[in-house]
Each structure stands twice: as C-alpha cells, then as structure tokens.
C-alpha cells in the first residue's frame, strides 16, 4: 500500500471531481440540443468541408506550441532528481530555461503569436 496509496487517493479524488463537475453541468446547465452541437469538432478546423482552404496560421500556432511543449517536457526528468544534481545541476537547468526564454521572447517580438 505505502507508496501507491497516494496514487490511489489521487485517482479516486480525480474520478469523483470529474463526475461531480459533469453532473453539476448536467443538472444546472441549460438544455438546448441540436444545431452545431451535433457537428463534429476538431481543434477549430471545420471537418465537414475537407476540400476547403483554411489558414496556414493554424500550423504556425500548433508548431510553436509543440516546440515549447516538448522543450518543457525535458525539464521533468531533471525535476524528479533535482536534489541529486545539487547547485551545479540547478544552474545548468536554469541555463536551459534561459535558452528557452530567449526563443520564446524571440517568437513573441517577431510577431509569432499574432493572428493577423
């Protein structure tokens, strides 16, 4: 039990929370079936007309999201064993984040996050 007990409690709490929120919205929310709700939804892209054009800006946003998301993932292995690396490891991780921040600032300043 010992180490896994926390995970079990975590799973139970998240299940109860998810169920409670969905039930609350079911009971308290307004009901208006039909209309656009019956159409499939895929990240804002209209899937009912696959031959139509849509903005290439979707790809830019998706690409930027992926780049920073994947880079941030690289921090997790370090974070799990942060104490084993001492101060030197912390400085190195900080340098990694500085590099990421420069990249982020660059994208921002060059208008990478602007839609228009």
């Amino acid at each position: 039990m010992s180490g896994y007990g926390a995970i079990l409690i975590y799973v139970a709490v998240s299940a109860v929370l998810a169920a409670a929120i969905s039930m609350a919205s079911e009971i308290m929310g307004p009901h208006a079936p039909g209309g656009v709700k019956r159409e499939s939804y895929e990240s804002g892209i209209l899937v009912d007309r696959p031959l139509s054009h849509f903005s290439v800006r979707f790809y830019r946003v998706a690409m930027l999201f992926l780049i920073f998301d994947v880079s941030v993932m690289a921090i997790y292995p370090w974070a799990t064993s942060m104490r084993a690396f001492h101060a030197a490891g912390f400085v190195k991780a900080l340098f990694f984040m500085v590099v990421l921040a420069v990249g982020f600032a660059y994208v921002w300043r060059r208008g990478g996050f602007k839609w228009d």
Partner: protein
C-alpha cells in the same frame, strides 16, 4: 563548472543567443546581428586554436583532441566566410547569422563526438538550420532547394540512425571510441557500418548519394552554399573518419574495400559531371562531389598518412571553394547565380577578381604553387602507403578530367567581350583576399600547417 575544452562550443552557443536577441531588438536591415555573429564565430575559432588538446572523454560523449579542434577551426572558418559574404545585403533576414552559427555549432559537435547519440545530435543541429537557410531566398528555386534538401536529408538521417541502432546491437555501447576492445557481432556490424557510411556519405556528397548537391547549391543563397560546400563537408568527413578510424579501425576489412570503390566512383562521377556545367554554382557543386571522393581516398586507404591527408585536404579544398563562391557572390549582385558567360572579359575588367578565381580553380585542379597540389600529393602518398594502387590511379585520372573542368572558366575570363559587371562588397573582398592569399601561401610553404594538421590526425593504432 563547464569543462574548459567545451569553451569553443559554448562561445558558439552564446553567439546564437546573442544574435537572436539582437535580431529581435534591432530594426530590420541592421548589421548588428551579423557583427555579433562574426565576433562570436571568430572567438570560437581562436579559442579552438589556443585550447590545449586532451584525449580525455568529456562526460563519456565527446573528446576535444587535436583532431576535433582542427575540425572546429575549419567549421568556424566556414561560418565566418558565410557571414562575410552575406554582409551588406538587403536580401538576407536578421535570422541569417543565428541560423548559420547554429549550423556551425552542429558541425563543431560532430567533430568532437565520441558517441553516436552526440554525433546524431550534431548532425541534426547542422542540418536543420541549413534546411531553412537553403529556402531563405523566398523564390521558387530556393524553395525547391530547401524542400529537396529537407526530404532527402531527413531520409538519410533515418538511414544513419538505423545504422547506429544496428551498431549498438552489435557492440552494446554507443560510445564508439573503445569498440576495439569489444566482442562484435559480425552480421550486425557489417549492416550497421554500411548504413552509417550511407548516412554520413549523403552529407559528404558521396556518389551515389549525391543527387541533391547540384540542385541545392544552385537554389540556395550563395553564402549558404559556401557554408554547405566547406562546413558541412568538413563535419561529415571528420565524423566519417572519426567513426571508421577510431571506432572500427580493427575491422577495416569490413569497410575499407567498399569505401575505396565509393571513393573512385565519387571522384570520377563528380569530375565527369562537372565538365558540361554552364552554371558556376552547379559546376562547383559537382566539383565538390569529386573532391569528396578525394577525401574518401584518404579515409579508405586506412593509414596514418591517409588520415592526415584526408584531414589536410579539407583545408585547401575549403579555401579554394570559398574563394570561388566569393567570386560568384561579387559577380551575381542582386540576381542570384552566375553563368559561364558572365565571366567573359573578367580578366580585363576586374583583374583582381579574375586572379582570385584563377587561384581557386588552379588549387582545385591541384596545380603546383597552390595549396591543392599538396593536398593531392599527400592523398596519393597515403593511398600508396596503404598499397591502394587502384585509388591512386583513380585519383590521377580524376585530376586529369578535372583539368578540363577548371580551365574552361579561366578561358572564358580571358575572352574579349562584356560579361556581367562586378559588385564588390567589403565582406566579399575580405574573403577573396584572405582565401586567395592563404591558398598561395600554403602552396608555397605548407610545412607549418601540414605539421599542425598531421599532429592532430595521428591515430597511433592505425597501421
């Protein structure tokens, strides 16, 4: 905290950050990012030269020995040449220096890598910025170059990675420095080595994996093509020599013969295909293929003098090709690319430019009193010391063919008539003067440089 032997790489990385920060704070059309990129690249090259080489592994992944440092110096020289040629031009974006420095950093890492994972990371760091740079001119030709380079390059990376995986299966380690002491699984070893040679041979432009070279060089902006012709080739050749001569020196029976055939094929095909070219960038691209074959002779001969000659040859070749691209850069002006006819009358209109191109072509042909002569001389010596008569004869035949390639532009320069007017820039003038004088100097007095490079490429376990 940071190992001092990594300082050149650190300088290059800081240069990338500095140029990126400058690219976002200064206005468009500012030269600040170029200047900072130039300063950091020169600093990285100088630090590589002043650094005391050691054969200790850093983190089990890289080794900053003399060999790696010589590669560092050559790659930084290629970055500096690319930056100088792109200076004062309104067509290149402010990201240009950051991307070029990033590609240079990848090439430097490839030279130091003692580990397949780091080697692959270096190769990708070298390739990914180049895919963007190849397409950075934003016209149809440049886009074609970028997409061709990207698709074939990604495929070759996959092949290389598969080869590395097979070698890992055969040896049980990704650190290829101490393979010689390990028990090897022969079948996996042969297949893995073949795929690694294919993957690195693609970057080196080894026939039959060279098809991308003319199109990509022609479509890319000239400063980018300059870096590709020198920097990429140095990094790929250095990595190939490191993997084969360091890692698999005891199993040379597996790769020596195959690489020898590839070398002869590459030399002959590159020089023969260069003969009918009328576009100067395509001509240099095919000449680059042929020169990759010469370097392969040194690697495949598997002798100490062969390895030294392969590393040494990269320098005369690089200086000559940088010089030739600088001349194209001066000739092309705003419109990219130069044809053979544009050279007409150049000897009378622009004697210094014509002299520069003549020196470059003579050096590529291997005429005495230029650096290329000594490069080829030591390659033949290395091949003969390894009793590789076939490769030595192939090299001589390919050189004879290449005379026809390199004398034709010289002939055009002395024809009467009006070609395209020259547009000098300070950066291009510096490159023409520097590379031209260095080519002549090494051609007359090669001893110190040869000694320096030979020290770096002395692998004592070679026979």
């Amino acid at each position: 905290m940071i190992n001092p032997v990594l300082e050149p790489e650190l300088l290059m990385g800081l240069g990338v950050l500095a140029t990126l920060i400058l690219a976002m704070v200064v206005r468009e059309r500012s030269n600040a990012a170029y200047w900072s990129g130039l300063v950091f690249a020169v600093a990285a090259g100088v630090r590589s030269y002043t650094l005391h080489p050691t054969s200790h592994l850093v983190g089990g992944m890289m080794v900053a020995d003399g060999y790696g440092l010589v590669v560092n110096i050559m790659v930084t020289a290629a970055v500096v040449a690319g930056l100088l040629l792109a200076f004062d031009s309104e067509r290149y974006t402010v990201e240009f220096p950051a991307l070029l420095l990033l590609a240079g950093l990848g090439g430097m890492i490839m030279g130091l890598a003692a580990n397949f994972i780091l080697l692959f990371l270096g190769l990708e760091l070298l390739s990914l910025p180049l895919y963007i740079l190849a397409a950075s001119r934003r016209d149809a030709r440049s886009a074609e170059a970028g997409i061709k380079y990207l698709l074939t390059g990604a495929f070759s990376s996959g092949v290389l990675l598969f080869g590395m995986a097979l070698l890992y299966g055969s040896t049980g380690t990704v650190t290829f420095i101490n393979y010689t002491t390990l028990h090897l699984v022969p079948v996996l070893l042969g297949a893995g080595l073949a795929l690694v040679i294919v993957g690195l041979g693609y970057k080196l432009a080894m026939v039959p994996f060279h098809m991308w070279v003319p199109d990509v060089y022609e479509g890319s902006p000239t400063p980018v093509a300059t870096f590709m012709a020198f920097g990429t080739k140095v990094a790929a050749a250095a990595a190939l020599l490191r993997v084969l001569a360091f890692g698999f020196s005891l199993t040379s029976g597996v790769w020596g013969l195959a690489l020898g055939y590839f070398a002869v094929l590459t030399m002959l095909a590159g020089n023969l295909m260069a003969l009918p070219q009328r576009d100067l960038k395509r001509l240099l691209a095919w000449s680059g293929v042929g020169n990759a074959g010469y370097v392969l002779v040194g690697i495949a001969s598997h002798t100490v003098s062969g390895a030294q000659a392969a590393l040494f040859y990269l320098l005369p070749y690089g200086m000559a090709v940088v010089l030739a691209f600088a001349v194209i850069r001066v000739l092309e002006g705003q419109q990219e690319g130069a044809q053979m006819e544009d050279l007409t009358g150049l000897a009378h209109r622009e004697p210094w430019l014509a002299a520069g191109l003549t020196v470059a072509l003579l050096s590529l042909a291997g005429i005495p009193l230029t650096a290329g002569f000594f490069g080829k001389f030591y390659l033949i010596k290395g091949a003969l010391q390894g009793d590789q008569w076939g490769m030595a004869i192939g090299l001589v035949v390919a050189t004879l063919v290449s005379l026809g390639v390199y004398f034709r532009p010289i002939q055009y320069m002395f024809r009467p008539g009006e070609g395209r007017p020259a547009r000098w820039s300070v950066g291009a003038a510096v490159v023409v003067a520097g590379a031209g004088l260095a080519t002549l100097f090494i051609g007359v007095y090669p001893e110190p440089l040869l000694h320096f490079v030979a020290q770096a490429a002395t692998f004592t376990w070679l026979r």
